[in-house]
């Protein structure tokens, strides 16, 4: 296959110690980033959302004194929850 490639370096450069180490270094990095990419593709698991009752609050946090809502008006599971304290 005719090709314009290989115009600058001899092919032996690829098996030189420096390029070999560079290739291994890049390989490790690429696998690291690929792992992170796969992690981002997997749906995030929020354990607190899976346990019933974890979203219930000890007391109302509403601004209305007589409110009895202890779940607050947080958005449902798939929307995100306030970075708030279930523990408070």
């Amino acid at each position: 296959m005719p090709s314009p490639m290989g115009i600058l370096f001899p092919e032996s450069v690829l098996s030189s110690p420096f390029v070999s180490v560079l290739a291994a270094f890049v390989a490790v990095n690429t696998v690291i980033y690929a792992t992170l990419a796969i992690a981002k593709l997997v749906p995030a698991i929020h354990i607190g959302e899976l346990i019933p009752g974890r979203r219930r609050r000890f007391e109302t946090r509403s601004i209305f004194v007589d409110s009895e809502r202890t779940y607050g008006d947080r958005e449902p599971k798939r929307a995100h929850i306030t970075e708030s304290s279930r523990e408070v």
Binding site: A34, A37, I38
Partner: protein
Amino acid sequence: MFQRSVGLVVAGVVTVGAMLLWIAVSYDTPTSSYALGEGIFGMWSFLYSLDVPTPRVIVAAIALAIFFAAGINFLEWRVTNRSRRSSNAFKTPLAPKLVMAQTRHVYAGPMSFTVLIPAHNEEASLPATLTSLLSQSHRPERVIVVADNCTDRTASIARNFGLEVYETQENTQKKAGALNQVLSIILPDQGDNDIIMVLDADTTLDAGFLKSGVVRFESDRALMAIGGLFYGEPGSGLLGQMQRNEYVRYSSQLNRRRGKVFVLTGTASMFRSRALREVARNRGGLVPGTVGDVYDTQALTEDNELTIALKTLGALITSPAACTVVTEVMPTLRTLWVQRLRWQRGALENIGAYGITPPTLRYWAQQLGIGYSVIALTSFLSLILITILALEAWIWFPFWLGLGIIFTIERVVSAWKGGWPARLLAATVIPELLFDMFLNLVYIKGIIDITRGRQGSWGPGGDTKPDVTDGELPGHVLKLGAR
């Protein structure tokens, strides 16, 4: 001293990290044999190499990735939980427990919104911003356009909308200074259910933004701030699309994090007045700056700084999925360069000002992550270049091809919500790779600038304020916080 060398610290840590990895892999004596096989696919024959790192190396790399990702998430989780549970009124005066205790059985009246719109010569974009604001299902009780050193019709446009205009007095400290002036006047009269919203004059709110804020603030009196999720405006061709993709990914990331905020965006954020008062009270003590100032006028990215200040004081903050805004995208590489350099320098200066503290750990990790990706991407592209320039025929590397496919899928999926233009751009890979390289160059320039700039301007008898406006474009001086 620490603040001056923040760029060098970050660069040093990532370089040492990369060197350690380099040494580790060189001890492993890798051999790239490039042993070739020849395959035939129909009429077409091709060369391939089954060079693959040893399973040991692959497992080690995966373990490293999991270790870092899990470690950072664990640290952040611990820090967040610590402020949630804190009852230390001296260190975390905005912690939920304390706020709850102070407001228990007290009704401070209905929610009231005061919107501040800092504007410096914004006659072109202001009408759209005001229209989107005034057509919200929950109309704000008060809107003040903060006209800062305007020489155009900004103030008269605001008055034509029937709105209040506050013209700054001898303000030389840009957006932060302008907001501080007006906040010093209105904050003392604000109650616990009074919300201050800061809205950029080049940002339009999506319908339901304020309503969603009302619901959140009403249902949680310990909630101190809500940040908007921003999307890029249409237009500006390929460069605009790249920024839109970036913003879509950022929003998706926040959704995955269930609204855990990195930055309460300067484009549109809402604050309970108690939060702003506490920040002003604690400046010069728990958080940097001048006591009495809500915004730190020394900070280049004052929205990022205020976010770190609130987290330091233990405040509960979030970015709900319903609070979205559309913000401008930079139309040219030059304006994008200026904007990103400001963000980058600002982010570094902010963490430098706070030092290494639990609330800033995530931000340090972010800087180290970007720093390392500069090294990783550069070495990756170098290897590709060397290989192409040395090989005499095209060779397929299934291992690398496989990894490339994984990355492409991730890019497309993460940009999916941006629609077909976003997905197509992501699928082509190369433009976004170049865009990343552009951002990496900005990162390096930011580190060089912060190191040189600080040394230059903080020398004996020099100006105490670093000269951060170099290269600033007219009309852009107030848009420091579009993130």
